[in-house]
Symmetry: C3
Subunit: 395 residues, 3 copies
Amino acid sequence: MPAITTENSPHGREFVILETPDERAKGWSVSSADLGLATAAFFTIRKQTLHGGRQEGVELIEVDQGVLKLTIIPTRGMSLYKVFSGEIELGWSSPVKEIVNPAYVELESRGGLGWLDGFNEFLVRCGVEWCGHPGMDNGRLLTLHGRVANIPATDVRVTIEEAPPHRIRVGGRVSEQTFKFADYELWAEVSTEPGKASFQISDTLTNRSDYEREFQLLYHANFGPPLLEQGARLVAAVKQVAPLDDYAGKSISTWSEYLGPTKNFGEHVFLLVPFTRPEGTTMVMLKNAAGERGVRVDYETKNLPYFSLWKNTDTMKEGYVTGLEPSTSYPYNRSVERKAGRVPKLAAGASKSFEVGYQILFTKAEVDAVEKEIVALQAQRPTTIESSAENMKAV
Amino acid sequence: MPAITTENSPHGREFVILETPDERAKGWSVSSADLGLATAAFFTIRKQTLHGGRQEGVELIEVDQGVLKLTIIPTRGMSLYKVFSGEIELGWSSPVKEIVNPAYVELESRGGLGWLDGFNEFLVRCGVEWCGHPGMDNGRLLTLHGRVANIPATDVRVTIEEAPPHRIRVGGRVSEQTFKFADYELWAEVSTEPGKASFQISDTLTNRSDYEREFQLLYHANFGPPLLEQGARLVAAVKQVAPLDDYAGKSISTWSEYLGPTKNFGEHVFLLVPFTRPEGTTMVMLKNAAGERGVRVDYETKNLPYFSLWKNTDTMKEGYVTGLEPSTSYPYNRSVERKAGRVPKLAAGASKSFEVGYQILFTKAEVDAVEKEIVALQAQRPTTIESSAENMKAV
Amino acid sequence: MPAITTENSPHGREFVILETPDERAKGWSVSSADLGLATAAFFTIRKQTLHGGRQEGVELIEVDQGVLKLTIIPTRGMSLYKVFSGEIELGWSSPVKEIVNPAYVELESRGGLGWLDGFNEFLVRCGVEWCGHPGMDNGRLLTLHGRVANIPATDVRVTIEEAPPHRIRVGGRVSEQTFKFADYELWAEVSTEPGKASFQISDTLTNRSDYEREFQLLYHANFGPPLLEQGARLVAAVKQVAPLDDYAGKSISTWSEYLGPTKNFGEHVFLLVPFTRPEGTTMVMLKNAAGERGVRVDYETKNLPYFSLWKNTDTMKEGYVTGLEPSTSYPYNRSVERKAGRVPKLAAGASKSFEVGYQILFTKAEVDAVEKEIVALQAQRPTTIESSAENMKAV
């Protein structure tokens, strides 16, 4: 339990701000000016603690780096609550309005749907012992999307790199540990360069156990307006696509296009296998109807070979939102994924890294350039459209 | 997250006291003297935070208005813990001694009976997505009496009306929100006039969803001694009464009379339909054996058409208590109530208000006057005594 | 909610340190010097509050009495986290690294195995409404090892006895209360004499209910290295021993001997009935391979007639640990124990006391002396080795 620590680590200036009884930590903040750094844009980083309701005790870290404002929730497994850039918001409006302290979440409720009591983040990690639909596996109930988003992080560090451009890193350790069952450590980190319209997830999952164990990880990034709107579109280099279920199957022909807010729409989920570059990366883009704004998502497919597209174009109040989800598995229950060969294992003591980058696109020129890149990646190869998820083989 | 706010709202002087990191809020208090108000009786209102055990972090608001002392628990959905007036206590002595932070309650425990781990309030709201007995409905476990009493309130406001008699209002918002399932907002308020022996519940439930949804609400007001004692009696204008089960059926002939603390009594529940005034109101009274003290309960039957009488005249230590419960439904599981046509719906965006008033009666004259009013409301019409709840039709 | 209280109680100087909004309590401490006491060794006692992760808000009391350092966790039912004496540690290294606030534990998870999410203590009490394996009993799920270790204590008191040798007592009240089901109060206390290598558990369980009720209590004391190692051994005067299951049955012939850390060992549990002295006490010893270090456990068998030996000699990372467990019952589900006649009852209002003492042995001479005592207690009577737990009759 150190007091607020300032370390000149190999990574730069580090602040450890959570595990302290120091009252000053409650309103901790730091800025480029405080540090005497000449960054491309002035930045400020501050921590606050929420009070009242189910938010009681929730810690937030807000990074304003000139172009982006990112809000990170250490108390909810380092989820990103929102990212703002001018009038563009990455995130969505969930019926769940509070940033809920996991102390008030019972994951077992409604037969394993308790995760939905706190779901409102822009970016929430699902995993790591399991993710996906609730249901029985090995005689025990797996709750929706696992536990990682409802585990408060420790060792939360704000690091400002010593060397220009003085990249800002906010990382924390999420320990998913149960005697006899789980000993995972997820280092969950987001970083961004002052003045840039992009940020990067750089996670490392370690199986600290002496036994090889299964794991699952899914990056559930959720977008509402202004990027999501009628006529918005997902652009991706797709090798294969299938509907999650019969309901989604009805709209398979328009899987990449979005409706406006639609009452009684429910949700359609599509399962994708992307084309990848030889170096094991791919990219997708969500662009608005006019093709003048968008978000580009770059990620490594080696450890995240699958991609799920969650289209929840329900009404605004119910949560008009789409999820772009690179992952180790599809969102079926782990028992289903295991049969399909889509549940990876991590050897005793082994680690895997997961990199996902997001960049906001503000102009038609930017959107067009990204689309061109994706078209090049598709390289005129056909997309196989499956009528059923049964045909999706393990990659 | 405002600091302590003093607003001159349309309603009067308002204090918003929970969502603040301001240390001063911990021991916030205000009095008629502080405000320079000439009220019928001197009042003080103070907030405190409990520490230790399962009480850790529980917020209380105590209103002492000269005649009544009311304790409100924002952390437990704005329940009223106790109301005192001299030697009269509204409330009871539960085996559960702590005012339990919902963070330490697991509603799913014992097959959905976790609510009993924190049950000790004078007045606890049951609902709002569901209330009643635990059990499966639509393939999911509904836990006893719903979630609302275990959701910490936000936007908690203490308002002192500008105009004499400077009524005091303590209200808070209880958000029962689950993505895909629930988007209820309950404004839960109690108000009282300085120096009067009465207080009023004025709640508004809003379905913020775009979909029509079922809801249930039950005002579980619980009385032990001194009002409850051998020979105490419920006085009500009753159209129809039935036992909840065979066990209660055995004592249907004495449904309105109370035994003293009785070992192995267990509990008897009776289901009532009251006679109502043309304007849609009714009243009941609990009076002590000598008819010299009592409590009068007035409420609107339009939105609370049913009434349950919970007689739990077990020993003092086990909880010698009776519940007077105006409600939208009887306390069976929602699946049973739905079949019986007793689960109301709330249209998208619609609100309903619920008014329940409580007045303490200190003398035989007061008790007699109230009894006279109730007899007049009965107007010599007969009470149909049903042998089984099967005969209770939806109102 | 008193502020920090200093009382000259019948027991000595008492400090009540948890139920207070007093900021000074956060870093409360007291020492022999502060009190002007001439003890055999200088002592300090301090309270701290943990922050970050699932530790948020956990209260610890650390007693350093010159020879022993004990850490008590009021927030986890007065469990003892660790006891240190020089290079000897009582305790073990669980994959669960945090001292978990029960607010973040869902006991119902994994079909009632949620207790494992926080299990890492040296000494954890299991009970009191039930303990043992998860499973259905009377139509309801009993979760592993009951609730008591996940209930924060209240009325936590540090007492320094007035009379020399100024014994230090740290006690707290753990209230396991559920309306209609449970009204237990466990006074959980550990005490130690400054400068001595021993400490004593002195608990009192009271059934505050008006009804006779079943209860179970098991003292789960867990030892890893340095006492546990290949060739370490349990020394006990044993009347009867049986394996918990067929898996343990395979190694019944070496039930008292330990392997080194062994991959895929899993766990072996042996059920014992000890020989007792006429006054109703017995003792066991865990000694290291060389017989030069050990721990002696003395306890009363009147209220703790059974003893379970948990051999979990898995790898170090998985938790290389053995549990020495005097108890009211064996660790089967309560439904099994009831059939076997091993679930005691407590009359209405009745209390039972439980005494378990631990002494660290630092030399071969000490170990040999204790072994001699145990051999004398066995008095050359044979140990009946049962092939199945079925043959273990109720004592």
